[in-house]
């Protein structure tokens, strides 16, 4: 059987990669995708714990995370489109004022 | 790209889209420039001339008889209508009466041509909107008609069968048999197409209310033929200014008041039925007699006469080497071609070649209505509208 720590290690690596991308990338869409990556890393941990603790609750949390991610993607991407329409850029360094 | 639309300042988000000249549903080489806002056509421009062959210039360098073969190539779906228009104009110039047999055969063949042309229209219109089978059914029927033309004139498409003063040759014996068979069978086939399209909800969705043109607009923009009648104007040259003894035939002029793609579709379908009626009357009442007028200085003598009499030989020689001399003057003769008013404006300076022969091509005028139909509508409707005005680019560009 796969040891729990190995699954968690994968989760951590993915999370850290996502975090690094979040910090390093300049394209707002890529940054957004890094957030999704981090969410997924967390999901993996939930599933792993659910498997090793023998309860379904972890899976339900994943369920909710997916729903939240969907909502977040919808709104976030709509904001990106609105931003792009007004500023004509996707670089977050140029998106530094609160005004649209 | 010579013709293009300029961007309007402040409307930079609009897309300028080029459609054609090799788009499959432009029925030839028509190029459209569309300005789109989202999916809606805001402005449109058409660019033609890709098939321009300078027929009108060529007419001036050919004798009247030689010109007839050129007319075939303008509206290549209705060559006999073009032949008829040219011959009628010349005959008007010459004040030449042609015998009733020739007139009856002319009427019969031009009505068959109308059916043939409408069949091609129906098929290509249907395939533009995705109904593939109708296209092939229509071409199956067209094949029968082409065979009839070949039997009579020796050519399937470029018939050049009518001559100034009558017909080129007598039609072969028994040529009416296949016509009778066609007349018997065609109504069933027509019903079959109607079953596939007329009440089909998808077909209705695509055509009803699309490409509307009001009666006033249609007249002002110069629409003619079935497209004009689809807008509710009851005008048919065969009825209102009869030529080639159309006044002796009974038929109705179908009109619809809606002025949309569906109305034009229904009008053309009904026209096929009326044409069939005329053909039937022409078969039944076909008079006996010569098919060429008795005017030796204009009409070629029979082969027999040419070989046995000195006058025949001289007339033949004169006509072949020089042609005939119409009087000085100008005439305009319009006929109802399958697409609308096909007019020949003929100016003679007394020489055997036309001084000027201008063709009022119905497709050329009808194409102007396209902008009115598509502006403000979705881009997908453009295809339906092009199909519904039934243009032939050979005729548009001449």
């Amino acid at each position: 059987m796969i040891p729990l720590s190995h699954v968690l290690t994968l989760s951590v690596i993915l999370f850290v990669i996502g975090a690094a991308g979040f910090v390093l990338r300049r394209n707002i869409i890529t940054v957004f995708m890094c957030i999704e990556l981090m969410l997924n890393a967390a999901n993996l941990a939930f599933i792993a714990f659910s498997r090793y603790l023998g309860t379904l609750d972890g899976q339900l949390f994943v369920f909710f995370v997916i729903v939240v991610a969907a909502a977040e993607a919808a709104v976030g991407l709509a904001i990106i489109i609105a931003l792009y329409r007004n500023r004509e850029t996707l670089n977050i360094e140029d998106l530094d004022s609160m005004k649209l | 790209m010579p013709v293009t639309l300029e961007k309007i300042p402040g409307q930079e988000e609009r897309v300028i889209l080029n459609m054609g000249p090799q788009h499959p549903s432009t029925h030839g080489v028509l190029r459209l420039v569309l300005e789109l806002e989202g999916e809606t056509v805001v402005r449109s421009l058409y660019d033609i001339g890709y098939l321009h062959t300078g027929f009108e210039k060529s007419f001036e360098a050919k004798t009247y008889t030689q010109c007839i073969t050129l007319t075939d190539r303008m509206d290549y779906l209705a060559p006999l209508s073009n032949n008829l228009g040219f011959c009628l104009a010349t005959e008007k110039l010459l004040e030449l009466e042609i015998p009733p047999t020739a007139q009856w055969i002319r009427v019969l063949l031009t009505e068959l041509t109308r059916i043939q042309s409408h069949l091609v229209w129906l098929g290509s219109h249907a395939i533009d909107l995705g109904a593939m089978s109708v296209f092939l059914y229509c071409f199956r029927e067209r094949e029968i008609l082409e065979t009839i033309f070949e039997n009579v004139a020796g050519q399937r498409m470029m018939t050049s069968y009518f001559r100034v003063g009558g017909l080129a040759v007598e039609p072969p014996l028994g040529w009416l048999k296949p016509v009778e068979k066609f007349v018997r069978e065609f109504p069933d086939h027509l019903r079959e197409y109607e079953d596939l399209l007329t009440k089909n909800p998808i077909w209705l969705e695509r055509t009803v209310g699309v490409g509307k043109v009001s009666a006033e607009d249609a007249v002002a923009i110069g629409l003619s033929g079935p497209s004009l009648r689809g807008s509710g104007v009851k005008w048919d040259i065969r009825k209102n200014q009869p030529y080639s003894s159309y006044e002796k035939f009974e038929f109705d002029v179908p009109t619809r008041s809606e002025g949309d793609v569906y109305a034009r579709y229904l009008v053309r379908l009904e026209e096929m039925r009326q044409s069939l009626r005329i053909v039937r009357q022409a078969i039944d009442g076909m008079p006996e007699g010569r098919v060429r007028a008795n005017a030796p200085h204009i009409v070629m003598p029979d082969r027999e006469e040419m070989k046995t009499s000195i006058e025949g030989l001289i007339y033949h020689f004169k006509l072949v080497t020089e042609g005939f001399h119409p009087p000085i003057g100008e005439v305009y003769q319009a006929i109802e071609s399958p697409r609308g008013e096909l007019g020949f404006y003929m100016v003679s300076d007394g020489s055997p070649k036309p001084f000027r022969c201008h063709v009022r091509a119905p497709s050329f005028a009808n194409l102007q209505s396209l902008g009115k139909m598509i502006e403000g509508r979705l881009i997908a409707d453009v295809v339906a509208c092009i199909g519904s005005i039934d243009i032939i680019l050979g005729e548009v560009d001449r």
Binding site: - | A131, M132, S133
Partner: protein, 333 residues
């Protein structure tokens, strides 16, 4: 023949199953194009392919050879990776979904029972939906990678179409699921064996879901036609549609037409193989229906297509779900 261990036997049988299914699917897809051309041709009073082999039966082979030797034109400025990936993806997904489709009952080798199915997943139906939902990428990427305004618009539109109709398709099968109470395709089919018995009266109607879920079936069928981009929803065109057609036809058979259930008779081996025959027959009927439609109907306009999906099919599917849930609750109470 030496006796094999259980694992070996399992592996062997699975490999054979995969090979057979792949072979059958590939030939079906190839010959579906032949069938389509032939049937549409006969509808349109033509001959269709008839030169290569008897009745043109070798035409798909000839086409394949032609494709192999055809010059592959890659337009300038295209995104190479994506340009190659997109069609590959679409085929791979189409084959993937066939893995969970059961096409017959069971058979026994050395005392072990096997399914006529590559693998039985207990969420088989969801699996198919998952795979088809990835099919959007192949279209949108293909449209994008060609680096042309027109193909990009085409890709966007057809992917929007697929997404819209996927929703309706999902709703359409929910009714069936509620009746079956399982997501396993095998389970759904097993629930449809026998005949409908009302009280003590045997109607001799097979217990297929179509009789209790006609609305669901209608919505499913329409959505499936749109999902596979067939006429009258054929705004984009593609070859992979053939394998998708097979998948949705299989699914329709499984969900609404009792899968492999049909009259059984004859000796044992016949009883084992007849279900497969019934299954294939039903799937074939659906495929024929598809082709038939292509020969008959005109095409929708894009906005009409979208409003049809969202304003008609989706509410209809929802109502169907609602009604079914009430009936199921009332019956179980």
């Amino acid at each position: 023949m030496a006796t094999l261990s259980d694992t070996e036997l399992f592996l062997l049988v699975t490999m054979i199953k995969i090979a057979v299914v792949m072979f059958v699917l590939m030939t079906t897809v190839a010959y579906l194009s032949w069938l389509e051309r032939k049937v549409v041709a006969h509808i349109q009073s033509r001959w269709g392919p008839y030169l290569v082999g008897p009745h043109g039966l070798l035409q798909p082979l000839a086409d394949g050879v032609k494709f192999l030797f055809k010059e592959d034109i890659v337009p300038l400025e295209v995104d190479r990776v994506v340009y190659w990936l997109a069609p590959f993806l679409s085929f791979a997904l189409a084959f993937l979904s066939i893995a969970v489709i059961p096409f017959g009952g069971t058979f026994t080798i050395q005392g072990r029972t096997f399914n006529f199915q590559i693998t039985d997943v207990n969420v088989g139906l969801l699996f198919i939906f998952a795979v088809t939902s990835l099919g959007v990428y192949s279209i949108v990427l293909a449209g994008w990678s060609a680096n042309s305004k027109y193909s990009f618009f085409g890709g966007l539109r057809s992917s929007a179409q697929m997404i819209s109709y996927e929703t309706a398709m999902g709703l359409a099968v929910v009714g069936t699921l509620m009746i079956a109470g399982t997501l396993s395709l095998r389970g759904i089919v097993d629930g449809q064996s026998g005949t409908w018995v009302i009280g003590t009266f045997n109607t001799y109607l097979p217990r297929w879901n179509i009789f209790v879920q006609p609305v669901g079936f209608f919505v499913y069928l329409t959505a499936a036609v749109a999902e596979t981009n067939r006429i009258p929803f054929d705004l984009p065109e593609g070859e992979a549609e053939y394998s998708n057609m097979v998948t949705v036809s299989c699914l329709a058979t499984l969900l609404f037409f009792g899968g492999w259930h049909g009259p059984l008779f004859g000796p044992g081996w016949l009883r084992m193989l007849l279900p497969i025959f019934w299954f294939c027959l039903k799937v074939f009927c659906f495929l024929f229906f598809y082709i038939w439609m292509r020969g008959t109907l005109p095409r929708f306009r894009y906005d009409q297509l979208m409003s049809f999906g969202w304003k008609f099919l989706l509410p209809l599917g929802l109502l169907n779900v609602l009604a079914t849930s009430f009936v199921v609750a009332w019956l179980s109470a």
